[in-house]
């Protein structure tokens, strides 16, 4: 070992990371490029894991659905960060399972110029009740078109109405070009 101190620090980090994941009930954490293959792998992993759980199939389907939409959001909308030579379509993706709920969290870089537009979309989604969300979904499906990034502009609306929960989000400014966008979707494990 060239540098024992560094090696020990790295071991500490691994254990620390493990403890933190356990403490926060993190089942899955990934940082990197979100491709279609990754999306398929994670969703099929979640399906296999959940098959052993006592959760009703309606909850499992919602978790699957939220995962797909969140992963596709990153793959379609995450911006590269020139400073860190990050490519488009990268981000962090986490799934946690607590006693009463699943949480799906994503984090990715977006351009500062797009922050306000995204914030107003999310605010509008969070303002709606179930009927409002259904109306919004129908309207967007009828009037919207598939963007050149392959999205239909329906993901956030559908996450909100399928989970029945508000979207939790925040924007952290990285520098004068980029921000980090964090979104958490919650799926209740308790049947309504």
């Amino acid at each position: 070992m060239a540098n024992i101190k560094e090696h020990n620090e790295s071991l500490d980090f691994v254990y620390d990371f493990y403890v933190k994941m356990k403490r926060n009930n993190i089942n899955l954490a990934y940082e990197g490029e979100i491709t279609h293959q990754i999306t398929k792998a994670f969703t099929s992993l979640a399906e296999t894991n959940m098959a052993h759980e006592e959760d009703p199939s309606s909850v499992q389907k919602k978790v699957f659905h939220v995962m797909v939409e969140c992963l596709q959001n990153i793959s379609k909308h995450s911006e590269g960060n020139a400073n860190e030579s990050a490519k488009d379509g990268r981000g962090i993706f986490m799934v946690s399972k607590a006693a009463t709920e699943y949480n799906v969290t994503t984090g990715n870089i977006i351009k500062n110029v797009n922050v306000e537009k995204l914030r107003s979309i999310l605010e509008n989604v969070n303002k709606q009740d179930k009927d409002g969300l259904n109306k919004l979904y129908k309207q967007q499906m009828r009037e919207g078109s598939i963007s050149d990034r392959g999205g239909a502009g329906l993901g956030f609306i559908d996450i909100a109405r399928k989970t029945g929960q508000k979207l939790l989000y925040s924007f952290l400014t990285i520098d004068n070009v980029n921000s980090f966008f964090i979104l958490t979707s919650t799926i209740s494990r308790i049947k309504e």
């Binding site: 999306t39 659905h65 129908k138 598939i146």
Partner: protein, 126 residues
């Protein structure tokens, strides 16, 4: 007219569009990498079929899962069926859903609200 027969995978649906044998069906899962590319031949086939449809077309949807991008393309498929119906031909959409899947049932109700075409909800048990 040509036949479309696509074998489903874990992210794309099984599609059968066969005028001669009177089979029109989309079933399984739909979350293709590129929805536009996947649904393009299906929509083109329906454009062609519109010119010379059967007296009665029964179109079956039996989906387990579809993502939001697919939901938009499924609406496009339904709008083609609406055109055929508006042209004075008999069209019936059968929306099959697992009887314990409220979201899939609601998705069918939603489409039947948007599209002006006879719509039948068909629950099935797994």
């Amino acid at each position: 007219m040509s036949v479309i027969k696509i074998q489903g995978t874990d992210d794309t649906p099984t599609v059968t569009l066969d005028r001669d044998n009177n089979i029109f069906e989309i079933s399984g899962r739909s979350l293709p990498e590129d929805v536009v590319v996947f649904y393009k031949p299906i929509l083109e086939w329906l454009d062609d079929y519109k010119n010379n449809p059967l007296e009665k077309t029964v179109f079956n949807f039996k989906l387990e899962y579809f993502n939001t991008a697919s939901s938009k393309l499924l609406l496009d498929v339904l709008l083609k069926l609406e055109d055929i119906s508006n042209d004075g031909h008999d069209v019936l959409v059968k929306w099959h859903y697992p009887d314990d899947d409220e979201d899939m049932e609601e998705a069918g109700e939603e489409y039947s609200d948007i599209v002006d075409v006879p719509f039948e909800q068909v629950p099935y048990s797994i």
